[in-house]
């Protein structure tokens, strides 16, 4: 039977950077050491004013094609995950198809998810390939969250960075899925805890939504800007992630110690350290890869996979877990059939 195999991953980070030292100067109550201890992030990359999600996605995809993993004309489906699209319409994936020279016979769609997006993208790709609808899927994740951040809101500026990742999934003849099973979860009751309140059609931008106010913590933001309720997000993570991991292990008939590598959404180091200890995962099997790029939302998992490529060989079993905005979460296992190309 045909199943999706991850062949190659590349990522792109914008040139402009925001080092922690610069943030510590701007927010003197938080030292470099404190920001580093809490977030594990030393540098974030920030898209230029004219640089949008499609530009980042195209750059990541071009790196993937340049690696020799495949040619644009071989792609027959483009999946693009973003919450910061170039336009309300048209679909960003359609613009990317044209710019990359992917055939017009290819399917293309956007899907709007954040930190869980990569897991859902893998699920969609496996479904497309296993059902025979596609044979070479280009899964793109691209975010420019920096455009949603108020420059005076340290609670989010210390964490988020911009990036895009491109993952090539191709059909492989195997007895069992190489990616799966999947465990998904959704709880829209948490939508208000990670949100850009204005700018959509429910609350269009206006002088009122642009007016910034200071919160109890001294962070300044407007309704046009991204709001994150950190304690509520932490609470959600503690509620959702451990049961999801248990469910995935049970569904796959796998024991925790049979997993070679754990790649979670790189939210921040403090949260990941706590989750790792809580789950009894050995530190040497647990990937931390946010230091040089921050929390890049749906791109954190593919970036972490690429940075861990030398640890993934044919036969490796990797657990992937995404969780965040929505609330939305998901987890899967990737049984690598070969090292990544490139």
């Amino acid at each position: 039977m045909l199943h999706a195999a991850i062949r190659a991953i590349e990522y792109y980070l914008p040139e402009r950077t925001l080092p922690t030292a610069q943030l510590a100067e701007r927010f003197p109550d938080w030292s470099v050491a404190k920001i580093d201890a809490k977030t594990g992030i030393q540098c974030r990359h920030i898209a230029a004013p004219e640089e949008c999600a499609s530009d980042l996605a195209v750059a990541a995809a071009r790196k993937l094609f340049a690696s020799g993993a495949c040619r644009p004309e071989q792609i027959d489906f483009v999946l693009l995950c973003t919450q910061s699209p170039d336009y309300f319409l048209p679909t960003t994936a359609c613009l990317v198809q044209n710019r990359l020279g992917i055939p017009t016979s290819a399917g293309a769609l956007d899907f709007n998810l954040g930190c869980s997006g990569y897991i859902y993208g893998l699920g969609l790709a496996e479904g497309l390939i296993q059902s025979g609808q596609a044979s070479s899927v280009l899964l793109l994740t691209a975010e420019t969250y920096s455009k949603f951040l108020n420059e005076n809101d340290r609670s989010v500026r210390t964490i988020f960075g911009d990036a895009a990742a491109a993952t090539l999934l191709t059909a492989a003849e195997t007895d069992h899925p190489l990616i799966g099973p999947f465990v998904y979860g959704t709880d829209g009751a948490g939508g208000e805890n990670l949100i850009v309140p204005a700018g959509g059609l429910r609350r269009p931008r206006s002088p009122e939504t642009a007016a910034a106010k200071e919160d109890e913590q001294g962070n300044i933001r407007a309704a046009d800007d991204l709001f994150m309720n950190g304690p509520e997000i932490f609470n959600f993570t503690l509620s959702a992630v451990p049961p999801t991991i248990h469910a995935l292990l049970e569904k796959s008939g796998t024991a925790l110690d049979q997993i070679d590598l754990f790649v979670f959404h790189q939210a921040n180091r403090y949260m990941l350290d706590h989750l790792r200890k809580r789950m009894g995962i050995p530190a040497e099997k647990f990937v931390l890869a946010m230091q040089d790029c921050g929390n890049t939302v749906s791109s954190t998992i593919p970036i972490a996979l690429k940075l861990s490529a030398e640890r993934i060989t044919g036969g490796s079993t990797v657990m992937l877990v995404g969780f965040g905005v929505g609330y939305s979460w998901g987890a899967t296992l990737w049984r690598a059939n070969a090292p990544l190309v490139g």
Binding site: D29, Q217, G230, F234, N235, Y270, R278
Partner: protein
């Protein structure tokens, strides 16, 4: 974890010298009692005995003793 150990951990969270807090202190007096500190306290309670604390309940705490009661720390 004992009450004394919990107090010591809150000292650390608020970047205070060890054995500063006694329990009756008002949280409003400490500018470092912010969302980051609240997350650290949630993690502390979760690590200690798996007590999951609601951010809303934590927001209602006025003193260090209120935090300890919420985290089910024995007096």
């Amino acid at each position: 974890m004992s009450r004394a150990e919990f107090l010591k951990s809150i000292d650390e969270i608020l970047e205070l010298p060890p054995e500063t807090l006694q329990g009756s202190e008002e949280l409003d007096e400490y500018p470092l009692w912010d969302s980051t500190a609240i997350i650290s306290f949630m993690a502390l309670a979760d690590s200690n005995n798996g007590t999951r604390l609601s951010p809303k309940d934590l927001g209602a705490c006025r003193t260090v003793d209120d935090l300890l009661r919420l985290a089910k720390v024995e007096a």
